[in-house]
Symmetry: C2
């Protein structure tokens, strides 16, 4: 069992910097495309054998040091009672966006074992087959709220901020419900066998530092505090964190995911040298030549050395256009130039 990832999560000494890639089970892999050719995205998420198969692919193909459950952050939102579809053009579409109290009233806090048994089953299959640790995940309360209020992706988050600003009690009510869901969903994943969890706050950077502190952070902080009782490392990836990292620091996370819009050295300065960090290569850097990828990897590794622990990753999900051999080169470069015990 390769446990470098888990030891790095705990800030322990490792003989090699571990690496995994956000969205590593994804469209850039022909093997993933082959599975997807026969099944739509949501069915893939909900079919344990297939979800496990694509979760395993990058472990074999890239040689990464951790696997992440194949799923989508909106799966539990569907289980809360909203209708969910994925369209080729506009991404996720949530039917009847939340705009009033009765819509929020109707949302249930799902029981993962009963309402999303496929998640539990996928984890069980994976734990039997994996030789690297398995990461579970959830969207953060705020990020999920944006999809639910907007009805999908958004540019300016007008509906979300309108609710936040004009009906803060309703917004808080929704955020409380989502915090319960996130906590219970991740706890269930941990019980089923995931060895670390990552909370994706993709839209954390869509509010001002003030609003992040007042309306976003308190909820994710509460979820993290609850989850830490479960005894596995909690990674918090607040995307677009450059302007809010001094607040993100207060979340209580064990590991901080760092996007690519901030220099890793600057991020560590803001978080303090006791922090364990994860990141932060621009996914587009995989369009560079292998030699240039190596240079960028070395730069981030060198900066990562100043933190207590560093898990190499991209600063955002790997893009469908990525050449697989460049992703392989990235993983090899991390293993070649990373920390040496």
């Amino acid at each position: 069992m390769n446990d470098t990832f888990l030891r790095a999560c705990r800030g322990e000494q490792v003989e090699c910097t571990p690496v995994w890639l956000m969205r590593q089970a994804g469209r850039y892999l022909p093997q993933y495309q082959a599975v997807r050719a026969n099944v739509d995205f949501l069915t893939l998420c909900k079919t344990p054998e297939l979800a496990a198969e694509v979760t395993l692919q990058p472990v074999d193909i890239l040689g990464v040091d951790a696997a992440i459950l194949f799923s989508d952050i909106l799966i539990p939102v569907e289980a809360m009672g909203m209708s969910l579809e994925f369209t080729e053009k506009s991404g996720p579409v949530l039917g009847e966006p939340l705009r009033n109290k009765s819509a929020v009233d109707k949302l249930i806090v799902p029981d993962t074992e009963d309402d999303m048994p496929f998640v539990i089953e996928t984890i069980r299959i994976l734990r039997e087959k994996l030789t690297v640790p398995l990461i579970g995940f959830s969207g953060a309360p705020f990020t999920l709220a944006t999809y639910m209020i907007e009805g999908g992706s958004s540019k300016n988050f007008v509906h979300t901020k309108r609710m936040m600003f004009q009906n803060s009690r309703l917004f808080q009510y929704l955020m409380e419900k989502l915090t319960l869901m996130v906590t219970s969903y991740l706890a269930a994943q941990i019980r089923a066998g995931v060895q670390a969890v990552q909370i994706f706050d993709t839209w954390a950077g869509a509010v001002t530092p003030y609003d992040y502190r007042e309306s976003v952070l308190p909820f994710v902080k509460k979820a993290i505090a609850e989850l830490k009782k479960e005894g596995v490392p909690v990674i918090y990836f607040a995307n677009d964190c450059a302007g809010i990292l001094h607040e993100v620091k207060k979340s209580g996370a064990d590991i901080f995911g760092i996007d690519w819009k901030i220099d890793m050295g600057d991020a560590i300065k803001k978080l303090g040298k006791k922090a364990v960090v994860q990141g932060n290569l621009d996914p587009c850097a995989l369009f560079l030549s292998k030699e240039e990828i190596e240079e960028r990897v070395k730069d981030i590794l060198w900066k990562g050395e100043t933190a207590r622990g560093h898990i190499f990753n991209l600063g955002h999900g790997i893009l469908p256009e990525t050449p697989v051999e460049h992703a392989v080169a990235l993983v090899e470069a991390v293993h070649k130039y990373g920390r040496k015990g």
Copy 2:
């Protein structure tokens, strides 16, 4: 003549903090909608009487301290030889995105007086009618390059970064040409009568700090150095600046536009107290009550006091959904609580 804006630009003492709003001549104004009802967006940009009319509207309706030429950053890109359309759904569409050298070869550096006479004429009309200073503007080389390479708006800037990473000579060639265009376009606006210029780098934050320094900053810096010879203040708005502000600082701009994803106090700390800043209210904050708008205005004004000069503005363009009376309340709050010479 109200010259508070120009004096603030120069860091001189003012009896009142000046304020204007990005995209203040825009769809949130019924008077603008009335003009647009009879004419499409591009025709509006190219019809001096109408462009001047909508430029003047917010000066009368909101009482702002500066006007900004009504136009679009892609107008000179069309003049360079690309076909431009605006669609209701996807925004700007540039025909035949730039992907190879011969496409870049074909681009001309337009002569503003000959190729965009409507811009010159609009400025002349406005200078006759305005009682506040007139700001001219251009997109920054990098931001324009993204539209030209992607063919419009983009999420991940895959084509732009591919060119930047895989064909850096071609990318540089395009950036050089755009730098010439931006410089000559803004110089022509200054000759025609604009009293300050703003360079919009909407997508400056779409690259890593390293790539910003290597591939974006040098070009805008060159344009600013040239423009400073023209003797009017140069505002540089690098959007999403939180992770790159230490580099943006080196641009040589007289005034730094600050988006809303960073605290104004933090931004001033990074730029130094000798800086003149502009910004940084979240456009969505205009959905708050008038009392809460006032509180946010006071907070930004208080932080702005620590800089040599502060021009109040939003951190991005005003949104179409904005209630006009809230925009008026914002301007009143700035005038009520701003610097008192």
